[in-house]
């Protein structure tokens, strides 16, 4: 599931033009041949490097997921399970203000603020929404800055661009927050550090965000501009019940609900090829899928490092925890597996054969057939 050495020309053909780019931001920093523009990666010039970081770190190039799983999670990769699991719980921030600003339980913001406060890390690579609600990679150094980053943007945030911009010589201990594809890219960087900028060995903590899909800003933004003054947007949400609307909270007009179906055309088509709903390569993953209790997050603690932080945060009274009901656990696992089946099905449809699943390679043929039998 790995090994090919390629450069930006291949990235252009096999990822960007092939419609696989998720906008994780891993490739673009430190490369003068690529840039981010309005939610897209654009290639500016012809690069001749045949063994480039862009290809090496892209989560949509063939990946040795097993190797990474052993290395970062300490367990072998099991395609049928939602990643390494130490515990799955319902968690929320004790601070109501954090919950209000964040998504559901505000756990990610609360945990990271705590990690900054207790000195586990010096800064957090995350994304911050600009005045118009569009996300950009950002490095938060204080709890206050972190709170400004709370809440989902539902767009690809190119967070890893901000990570790569940190000079290689910088010794800050970092946490990185991101969705599945970004966690995969980060795992790839840990396996082979970038030539210039962003030292993955400094990453002490990774917090994954559950992700169903991301929106393409070039389609989503004009849509948004039609319904409101984007500079007055406070927050976006897709409420669990009934789960059919996309809510935009603004300073002036309060909540504006858009039917979710109206938003769907703006979903990045690349997301249909993504297998990783729960960010399996993180230390801790958090989200709402599988948990329809308002004001709570579902949190998967994956690594001893993540478990340690959770334990200390509970002890410090930062977060509160309750067990996830069995039925919810079943639902979470089913959604995660369903995502994988969809990804395989869509990749097979794209290539025209189950033999070629694009960037996902090395799965036992029997497994693929079994997963796709219905």
């Amino acid at each position: 599931m790995s090994g090919t050495k390629r450069g930006s020309r291949n990235l252009l053909e096999d990822v960007l033009k092939a419609g696989l780019c998720t906008g994780c931001g891993a490739c673009v920093t430190g490369c003068p041949y690529m840039a981010i523009h309005e939610g897209r990666i654009v290639v500016l010039d012809r690069c001749t490097i045949e063994d480039g970081d862009c290809w090496r770190h892209c989560p949509r190039t063939p990946t040795d997921v097993s190797g990474f799983s052993e290395k970062t999670q300490g367990v072998p990769f099991d395609f049928l399970e939602p990643g390494a699991i130490i515990a799955v719980e319902m968690v929320r921030s004790v601070d109501a203000a954090v919950r209000e600003k964040g998504q559901d339980g505000g756990v990610v913001t609360a945990l990271l603020a705590f990690a900054l406060d207790e000195g586990m890390i010096d800064s957090v690579v995350c994304s911050k929404k600009d005045a118009g609600g569009a996300p950009h990679g950002f490095v938060a150094r204080t709890a206050r800055e972190l709170l400004e980053c709370a809440g989902s943007s539902y767009e690809a945030a190119f967070t890893l661009e901000a990570f790569r911009k940190i000079p290689a010589g910088n010794a800050d201990r970092l946490a990185v927050v991101g969705v599945g594809c970004q966690m995969e890219a980060l795992a790839k960087m840990k396996a082979a550090a970038p030539v210039n900028g962003g030292n993955p060995q400094n990453v002490q903590l990774t917090v994954g965000l559950f992700c169903g899909w991301a929106l393409r800003s070039d389609i989503f933004r004009p849509l948004l501009e039609e319904i409101c003054d984007t500079s007055r947007i406070v927050k976006f949400d897709i409420p669990h019940s009934p789960g059919t609307s996309f809510d935009v909270y603004t300073k002036d007009a309060g909540k504006i609900s858009i039917p979710l179906d109206d938003i769907r055309p703006a979903i990045n088509p690349a997301c249909q090829y993504c297998w990783d709903m729960t960010a399996e390569f993180a230390d801790i993953s958090a989200g709402s899928a599988g948990s329809s209790f308002h004001g709570w997050n579902t949190v998967i603690t994956r690594t001893p490092r993540g478990a340690g932080l959770m334990k200390r945060a509970v002890a410090a009274g930062i977060i509160e925890i309750q067990p996830l009901p069995e039925s919810r656990m079943t639902k979470l696992k089913a959604s995660a597996l369903n995502r994988k089946k969809n990804a395989l099905r869509n990749l097979a449809r794209k290539s025209g054969t189950r033999e070629d699943l694009g960037y996902i390679s090395g799965l036992p043929a029997g497994l693929v057939d079994a997963l796709l039998k219905d």
Binding site: H37, I49, N196
Partner: protein, 648 residues
């Protein structure tokens, strides 16, 4: 030459072809000379301008060749000899006027049009044979072999023009214009005061009478043909035509212009002067048929040697076809037979090969190792791909254009145009120009592309124009685009000069051809007054320029203009304006050919002030070439190119 108007009849001086042509016009006593710059003719106007005050000549750089020809024609109509100068493309621009001027005829004073073709397109976007226009328009045309003859032909051209009452063409080629030769000077006119007066004033009792309004064209055209007959008769005895060789040669070469020199060299080289005769034709159109007839009847084989089209070849064959009983046995060689090509430049070598083939002379190399030696010598010559100068503002503009088009992502493209920035079709402009035709035609084509919205056309369209080109031919297209609401963005690359042809002033520079001050035709105000949205950028501010291009590209309708204003680096050097800074590469930071750079500055950006040190695998500044513009510091991804203290 220090003084082109030196009064030294019979004195021999070394002159460039273009200088000799200027001298010929001065000896002819011209009062007006007008042109638009175009290589290979660009030196003629400055040469005349240098003595304009002393010789009382009105010299001007006109906004285009049609205007130049009209300016010259008006002088002729007012009794003042006049001279218009253009390259082959310029003749195309001027031709609509000339073909009408032929109908009315000129005034009492002669008018000569010098047009230079550029075989091989060394300094041109196209290759064409202007002699065809003389035949098409029914104009007399002379073609000069060398500088001396060019001077004499210009002077005699005025006499001919007055005799036949038509403008007279003199055709040259690049090799004539730029070759220096000994020229024996003629007499300068006394320079007596001549009053310009247009005689065709309105007569209320005979109001319709004027020679200079188009009358019934069938009458005018008939008169024109009468005039041509007269010219043909004058050409039969012209000393510009000559024959050398045996009375009944085995092969007759008929040549014109510089090809006469190639032919004579070929005859000498092959030592066939006793077998081959050479007829040099200086009065090319209308063809002196009696002279041609006499020579055709003296031989069995004819080889035509001429630059570009088989013009004489076809004319002679056409003539011979009308004399089939006497000339049916003639064999013709030239471009039709494939011995020579109707494209690219001719040379003595090509004529030698043709002659050897026709005469069955074996051609052996001088020594067996000659080719190998030549190839070895060629290998010593470093490749010199075309490039924009160090610090050229066009490089900055096209860098921004490239990045803006890539960012926009809708397959936008640039309609190219004529000037230094034509190089945008190749690496120096990052291959951004996707079309390139005539002066101003990029904007016209952008008009067209930008009008295809009804057919689902959704690509952003950019057009480029130089500042001089803007006044030359871009304006009507811009007006059209605004009027017809076409959707495009025009980038005017204003580098303060007609740079490609040698920094001639233009209406935007505030200077005349003589160097005297002139009012500035305000390009920005002009565009605004037409109704275009206008922005002015310094392309060296790459970020702002890229954003401006992007913003303009993304507008949904209307013609927009961005003026990219930054002085040409060569002009800066001429004016001794120092560079902004001294550049240095920090070896520690330079990423060289590794991931994250891949020689961006030397491989893609391509400023000649940067060099790739293959041993060290680092970029270095070429101190001799770098002008210290500082732009490379902005594109270096590693911050390794450093601007140091301002130059003293």
């Amino acid at each position: 030459m220090a003084d082109i108007a030196i009064d030294n009849p019979g004195g021999v001086v070394l002159l460039m072809g273009n200088e000799a042509i200027a001298r010929g016009a001065i000896e002819a006593g011209i009062g007006v000379a007008a042109a638009y710059p175009g290589s290979p003719t660009s030196e003629i106007i400055p040469t005349i301008a240098a003595v304009a005050g002393k010789r009382k000549i009105h010299v001007e750089w006109s906004s285009n060749e049609k205007v130049a020809t009209e300016v010259a024609a008006a002088a002729s109509l007012a009794g003042i000899r006049s001279f218009a100068v253009m390259k082959q493309n310029g003749l195309n621009v001027a031709s609509d006027f000339i073909v009408n001027l032929n109908m009315t005829g000129i005034g009492s004073a002669g008018m000569v049009i010098f047009v230079a073709d550029d075989p091989g397109g060394m300094t041109s976007s196209n290759e064409q044979d202007s002699r065809e226009v003389a035949k098409w328009f029914d104009n007399p045309l002379l073609e000069a072999q060398n500088a001396q003859e060019a001077k004499e032909m210009v002077t005699w051209g005025f006499e001919l023009s007055e005799k036949v009452n038509l403008p007279v063409f003199l055709r040259g080629v690049t090799r004539l214009c730029y070759t220096r030769g000994n020229v024996a000077l003629g007499k300068l006119p006394s320079g007596g005061e001549k009053k310009a007066f247009f005689p065709e004033i309105w007569d209320m009792y005979n109001p319709a009478k004027s020679r200079f309004t188009a009358g019934p064209s069938q009458v005018a055209h008939k008169n024109l043909h009468e005039k041509l007959k007269k010219a043909r008769a004058l050409f039969e005895d012209s000393p510009f035509n000559s024959y050398a060789g045996p009375e009944n040669p085995e092969l007759l070469i008929i040549s014109s212009g510089v090809c006469t020199s190639y032919s004579l060299e070929a005859i000498e080289e092959l030592d066939v002067a006793d077998r081959v005769g050479a007829l040099k034709l200086g009065t090319v159109w209308p063809m002196p048929e009696k002279l041609i007839e006499k020579r055709l009847l003296s031989t069995q084989k004819v080889l035509f040697v001429e630059e570009t089209d088989p013009f004489i070849e076809r004319s002679v064959m056409e003539f011979a076809a009308g004399r089939l009983p006497e000339m049916g046995g003639l064999a013709f060689y030239g471009k039709r037979s494939g011995h020579l090509a109707p494209f690219n430049e001719q040379s003595a070598d090509l004529v030698i090969a043709a002659l050897a083939d026709i005469l069955n002379i074996p051609l052996a190399p001088r020594d067996p190792g000659y080719r190998k030696k030549a190839e070895e010598a060629m290998a010593l010559v470093p490749a010199r791909p075309i490039n924009m100068c160090a610090g050229c503002p066009h490089r900055a503009t096209f860098w921004a254009v490239k990045n803006a088009i890539a960012r926009d992502g809708r397959n936008g493209f640039v309609c190219g145009d004529i000037g230094c920035y034509s190089m945008a079709f190749a690496a120096p402009g990052f291959y951004q120009a996707r079309t390139m035709h005539a002066m101003g035609s990029g904007i016209g084509m952008a008009n067209g592309f930008g009008s295809l919205g009804d057919y689902g056309f959704d690509q952003p369209v950019l057009a480029v124009s130089g500042d001089s080109t803007f006044y030359h031919a871009a304006l009507p297209a811009l007006v059209n685009g605004i009027y017809n609401q076409s959707n495009f963005t025009l980038l005017i690359l204003d580098n303060s000069a007609t740079a490609m042809t040698g920094f001639q002033p233009h209406p935007g520079t505030g200077m005349l051809a003589t160097g005297a001050p002139a009012p500035i035709v305000d390009m920005e105000g002009l565009c605004r007054s037409l109704g275009a949205e206008v922005r002015v950028c310094d392309p060296f501010d790459l970020e702002e320029t890229t954003d401006a291009i992007l913003a303009m590209m993304q507008k949904k309708s209307g013609a927009r203009v961005i003026i990219m204003r930054h002085i040409c680096q060569l002009l800066k050097a001429k004016r001794k304006i120092p560079g902004e800074c001294k550049m240095r590469v920090d070896d520690e930071k330079c990423l060289g050919d590794s991931c994250g750079c891949d020689q961006l500055c030397t491989r893609i950006f391509g400023c000649p002030g940067l060099m790739w040190d293959g041993a060290a695998k680092k970029a270095v500044i070429d101190e001799a070439i770098c002008v210290g513009c500082g732009l490379c510091a902005d594109i270096c991804p590693a911050g390794a190119i450093i601007r140091e203290e301002a130059r003293p």
